[in-house]
């Protein structure tokens, strides 16, 4: 079947903000595909980036997880409870789906493979720039090697800047547990980075 282009839902005066996130989820719960399309338009970039950070990669695997996330958003829309932010709710779905996926070692192997294929600089670089690149590569590896619960907490709180309360709602643990995981993640990452200088 030939696929054509979907026309996005028109909005008043061209301002997408006329429809709140909650209004779109409410419509999605009724099977409104226009509302689901609008939710995808609004949240696809942050979800792509969030899953990439959790996975440590941004390839086809990420695309599959993003697609699965929004399919689950549509399915779960009737059970969305107002009072929690839609962004946090969607991130929670993405985190659950990614957690199930991450149990395999394939992700880590792809990450290391991707790092191994990073091209050399085309021109001579100053020493500090080279050092920074190496530091970032070590950080990326260290992040990928973190235990997933620690990486989840670090990505949610430190990279995605969610509050501990929001992260605890997503992860299903107490706020104190979230902070402990963030602390342990930071400690492990620092140790990995500083260990590389020896």
């Amino acid at each position: 079947m030939k696929l054509g282009r979907l026309t996005p839902l028109r909005r008043i005066s061209g301002h997408a903000d006329e429809f709140s996130d909650e209004a779109l989820v409410g419509a999605c719960a009724m099977g409104d595909s226009a509302a689901l399309g609008a939710l995808i338009d609004r949240f696809q970039t942050p979800v792509y980036r969030f899953i990439a950070r959790l996975l440590g990669s941004d390839g086809a695997e990420r695309d599959d997880l993003v697609q699965t996330t929004f399919i689950e958003v549509a399915r779960s829309a009737p059970s969305y409870r107002q009072g929690s932010s839609v962004r946090v709710w969607i991130f929670g779905i993405a985190a659950n789906i990614t957690r199930n996926q991450i149990r395999g070692l394939v992700r880590r192997r792809r990450m290391l493979t991707a790092l191994a294929t990073v091209p050399e600089g085309r021109a001579a670089r100053p020493d500090d720039e080279m050092a920074r690149r190496e530091l970032m590569e070590r950080l990326a590896v260290a992040l990928s090697e973190l235990a997933h619960p620690l990486r989840e907490a670090f990505v949610l709180c430190d990279l995605e800047e969610l509050s501990a309360r929001e992260a605890s709602a997503i992860l299903g643990v107490r706020e104190g547990t979230v902070w402990r995981r963030v602390h342990d993640a930071r400690k492990a990452l620092r140790a990995a980075l500083e260990g590389g200088h020896r």
Partner: protein, 351 residues
């Protein structure tokens, strides 16, 4: 390495966005996997050109949808019963607090049950909005432009561009010739002007109407006295007699303090006091409005107006509190005004 440096370094790790065509493929695949919407019950079926959101989703024009009057989401607690008079094209979205019918083409009739404070029910068209307050009315749109609004009972507000008109039972509105419309200007460095009274008046005789014109309000069927007082107050405000309007809005609010007009009476009384130059009275009226109707759809606007009054008497801290409250308003223009005003209030802001 301290925590801040570590976090900044981690945030700078590259994360690439997928190519646009991959995003479109993902979007299409997700929409195509969506189950077909539940068909409406026969006794309330819509006359709508509908396309199911299935594998044929690529052919769906998103602005057309099957309406579900009594769908599975009973938790949405609909206030509006909508009937299409002929073919109509619309989408129904919203939450329990903010019910929205998005109309692009055709004529629909709505019966809306009385709303609780803070609840809204609106019909949105490409260039306008009709907001209801427990009423029966018709809305007609052509090519996503508001063409006509007729009120059978109750009261509606019609927002068309930068103007707003209040219609009562028997009133009929059509857009005037565009060159004749006078738009109330708004600037970003002053508090927002309320969306009314509008230079475009409601029409007793439409440009194209078959049949006799609607009767004047005085000859209409008896209306509750709170509504009669509200009408009188509105007329006074429209005529520029803000002091009379303020007194009469107060009476309207007292006559039915728990009724559908109470919140609007309180809001417009505060506006009228402000326009009459009674700034102390306006301040108290806005504070009272926000205290009695904290979830009002106008809370953000009221907060910004109150902030203006507080700045005038030197209460910057109070003004800042009100503006921060308005930062979370559902209307983008209110949020933008609050943000601009907060910047102006900042200690190091240029005078």
């Amino acid at each position: 390495m301290n925590d801040r440096s570590l976090i900044e370094l981690a945030r700078s790790l590259p994360v690439s966005d997928p190519p646009r065509d991959r995003v479109e493929e993902m979007r299409t695949a997700v929409l195509a996997s969506m189950p077909a919407p539940i068909a409406p019950r026969p006794h309330r079926s819509w006359v709508v050109p509908a396309v199911a959101a299935t594998a044929a989703a690529a052919a769906v024009i998103i602005a057309i949808a099957v309406l579900r009057v009594d769908g599975p989401a009973e938790a949405l607690r609909r206030h509006a019963t909508v009937t299409a008079l002929g073919d109509a094209t619309m989408v129904r979205v919203g939450t329990a607090d903010d019910e929205i019918i998005r109309l692009t083409e055709g004529l629909i009739h709505l019966e809306v049950s009385p709303l609780a404070p803070g609840e809204r029910c609106r019909v949105l068209v490409g260039d306008g909005e009709v907001e209801v307050r427990g009423t029966g009315f018709e809305v007609e749109a052509h090519h996503d432009r508001l063409a006509r609004v007729r009120v059978t009972h109750g009261r509606v507000e019609v927002h068309a561009g930068a103007t707003m008109v209040v219609l009562f039972a028997g009133d009929h509105w059509e857009p005037t010739v565009r060159t004749a419309v006078t738009v109330t200007p708004r600037t970003t460095d002053e508090a927002p002007l309320p969306p009314g009274p509008a230079p475009v008046r409601r029409h007793r005789r439409a440009a194209v109407v078959s049949g006799p014109p609607a009767p004047a309000p005085a000859l209409a069927s008896p209306v509750p006295s709170a509504e009669a007082q509200f009408r009188a107050a509105w007329s006074a405000l429209t005529a520029g007699d803000a002091a009379t309007a303020a007194r009469t809005f107060e009476v309207a609010g007292r006559l039915d303090p728990a009724g559908p007009l109470a919140e609007d009476s309180a809001y417009w009384r505060a506006i009228a006091l402000q326009r009459a130059g009674d700034h102390a009275g306006a301040r108290k009226a806005f504070e009272q409005l926000l205290a009695e109707f904290p979830r009002s759809a106008r809370a953000g606007e009221a907060s910004v107006m109150l902030a203006r009054e507080l700045v005038a008497v030197g209460d910057r801290a109070g003004a800042e509190r009100q503006l921060r409250r308005a930062l979370t308003d559902r209307l983008p223009r209110v949020r933008a005004l609050a943000a601009t005003a907060l910047e102006a209030l900042a200690p190091d802001a240029a005078p």
